[in-house]
């Protein structure tokens, strides 16, 4: 750690404002989203057409099937489908 005056200290505290509350909560809730996530993945594995829709437009495919938009689930699905 380099030496610094109080002004520099203040600017370093200022450099890390909190992330939006909703973003943090969504990321924290990811493990709770697992059942829904697993259900979607299982459906995609059993239904090639649904899988193609998810790959083409994830958000639209989920909305069309009545799933609520959940940022944590969306992010996890992107990771899943990108990995396959």
């Amino acid at each position: 750690m380099t030496a610094f005056g109080e002004e520099r200290l203040a600017s370093l505290i200022r450099a890390l404002p909190p992330a939006p509350e909703g973003w943090v909560r969504a990321a924290q809730e990811l493990p709770f989203a697992r059942p829904q996530l697993d259900e979607i993945v299982a459906r995609a594995e059993a239904d090639a057409a649904f899988r193609q829709q998810l790959i083409a437009d994830l958000e639209a495919a989920l909305a069309a099937e009545g799933y609520e938009r959940d940022p944590a689930v969306l992010a996890a699905l992107r990771v899943r489908f990108e990995a396959k």
């Binding site: 203040a10 370093l12 890390l16 909190p18 943090v24 990321a27 493990p31």
Partner: protein, 211 residues
């Protein structure tokens, strides 16, 4: 190096899932990064909450300050960083290296976003990352200061975080902490001095231990 040391420090954590920000209370967590990752891997939900809380500002700042992503892209990157971290925690070879691992993951996802956005006008990678390394280095330093802040007395960490990081006015702080406006400036000044002393003490300890 923030979070890499073996000595546990106190840090701000959220009380439990689902609580509103007004109920946010700074608590002392004695878990090192290594212990926290180990607990997450074992399926400890509270540890996962804390890991997200501990690095949320850092990941957010890399996306928004270092790579200047628009809010919608920054949110996608933010969620994807933690989704990947959750899914690939087993692949982390050194549990104490979670901070640089998250930083690298965030950088890579930000660059992917910028590259996708610039498909119509191809841009060299050097241009995409221009200036980001310096900003990330600054954010590393800022994270170390926030860790020291979390180890400060509660009345100090709350007032400094509210005033500098949350950009709250004296009036808002006074109301939230039930303090007369006249005492806020002097408390901020005292707490900054105390934080500096704490950091200088750590630096001396690091030098003495040869770090």
């Amino acid at each position: 190096m923030p979070g890499a040391g073996a000595v546990p420090v106190t840090r701000p954590v959220r009380l439990s899932q689902g609580q509103h920000q007004s109920q946010f209370v700074l608590m002392a967590s004695t878990l090192s990064d290594r212990e926290l990752v180990s607990r997450c891997r074992a399926g400890d939900q509270q540890a996962w909450n804390e890991l997200v809380e501990r690095f949320s500002r850092y990941v957010y700042a890399i996306a928004v300050q270092a790579f200047r992503l628009p809010a919608a892209d920054a949110e996608d990157v933010f969620q994807e960083v933690f989704a990947r971290a959750y899914q690939h925690l087993d692949k982390l070879r050194d549990d104490s290296a979670v901070r640089p691992w998250l930083a690298q993951l965030t950088r890579r996802l930000c660059i992917d976003r910028l590259r996708a956005a610039s498909r119509e006008r191809p841009v060299a990678d050097e241009e995409l990352v221009s200036g980001s390394e310096e900003t990330v280095a600054l954010l590393d330093e800022a994270l170390a200061v926030h860790e020291a802040l979390a180890a400060s007395p509660e009345h100090c960490r709350e007032i400094l975080d509210r005033f500098f990081a949350r950009d709250e006015s004296y009036k808002t702080i006074g109301k939230a902490l039930d303090l007369p406006a006249g005492t806020i400036a002097s408390r901020i000044s005292r707490c900054l001095r105390r934080l500096r002393e704490l950091l200088e003490g750590r630096s001396q300890t690091d030098r003495a231990s040869g770090e």
